[in-house]
């Protein structure tokens, strides 16, 4: 039903921001990881968002149109651009012949800033959801 579309859109925002939060948590948790499945140190993960567009056929006029249905996570990619940190630590088991260890390209400061952005966006979506809810409750008062 159409009035619940606003709910679905806000929920998609909540889901997406939560996934972003998950990737940030993963980055922070792995900021010292030197071994991964792919070999080498952990690489920072980034969640890419995409507008969720849907093709719809109007039931009255039969016209096809594209409607927005919120946001979706396009993919979670690995950050290949930021250079890996290299630390001199010959006693580390993963050190190379010259004593250098490749550390993850995670910058904690960046992650904290992204985390704040994700939290605020999540809150904004909750506000929108509550506003829609208040509107539909008000609609029940029509004719009272």
């Amino acid at each position: 039903m159409r009035i619940f579309k606003a709910f679905e859109i806000s929920t998609s925002g909540l889901t997406a921001e939560k996934l972003r939060m998950d990737t940030i948590s993963s980055n922070i948790a792995n900021s010292g990881t030197t071994r991964t499945e792919d070999g080498g140190a952990y690489k920072r993960k980034i969640a890419i968002f995409k507008e969720n567009l849907h093709k719809e056929v109007d039931s009255h006029s039969g016209i096809r149109r594209i409607v927005s249905k919120g946001v979706k996570v396009h993919s979670v990619i690995q950050d290949e651009e930021t250079p890996m940190k290299v630390v001199y630590n010959p006693s580390h088991p993963d050190a190379d012949n010259e004593g250098y260890v490749e550390m993850p390209n995670v910058n904690i400061l960046n992650e904290m800033v992204d985390m704040i952005a994700a939290t605020r966006a999540y809150e904004a979506n909750v506000t929108a959801l509550n506003a829609s809810k208040a509107m539909f409750v008000k609609a029940l008062e029509i004719g009272k």
């Binding site: 925002g13 968002f49 409607v67 249905k69 946001v71 929108a128 506003a131 008000k138």
Partner: protein, 136 residues
């Protein structure tokens, strides 16, 4: 006067529809606040309404009977349109959603919706008053 075809109720219905649509558009903008290259959705309704009710846009074609043709859209045909706001820029990622503006619009839209519901209720209360012959 036909109760069900009343102009006020028709107009209020249209405005309520537009308000719900705008709520969807604002929710969509807020959900996409972190999406790269996303452009904000805006709902065009008031302008369309103005076009439909201003007599000067009738191009001089008066309608005196229901079967007469008119160049202007009737109230019945006005539909809120969703357009992309491609003229502004915010930040470096091609996204132009201003979260403060969206929040303000959200609050304004909610108040408008409440006002419309109150108005529609007042209208029905008047009808009720007439039906009960002014007893209540």
């Amino acid at each position: 006067m036909k109760i069900s075809n009343d102009m006020t109720i028709q107009l209020l219905n249209k405005a309520l529809d537009a308000s719900v649509k705008r709520q969807g558009a604002i929710s969509n903008n807020i959900a996409n606040v972190n999406t790269q290259n996303y452009k904000a959705n805006r709902v065009i309704f008031e302008e369309e309404l103005k076009k439909a009710i201003l007599p000067k846009n009738n191009a001089g074609l008066m309608t005196t009977k229901s079967k007469h043709m008119s160049l202007s859209q009737g109230i019945r045909d006005i539909k809120p349109r969703v357009v992309k706001d491609t003229h502004t820029t915010m930040g470096l990622d091609g996204n132009n959603v201003d979260i403060d503006v969206e929040n303000a619009n959200l609050a304004a839209n909610q108040l408008l919706y409440n006002a419309l519901v109150t108005q529609i209720n007042n209208k029905y209360r008047v009808l009720q008053h007439v039906i009960s012959e002014g007893k209540k």
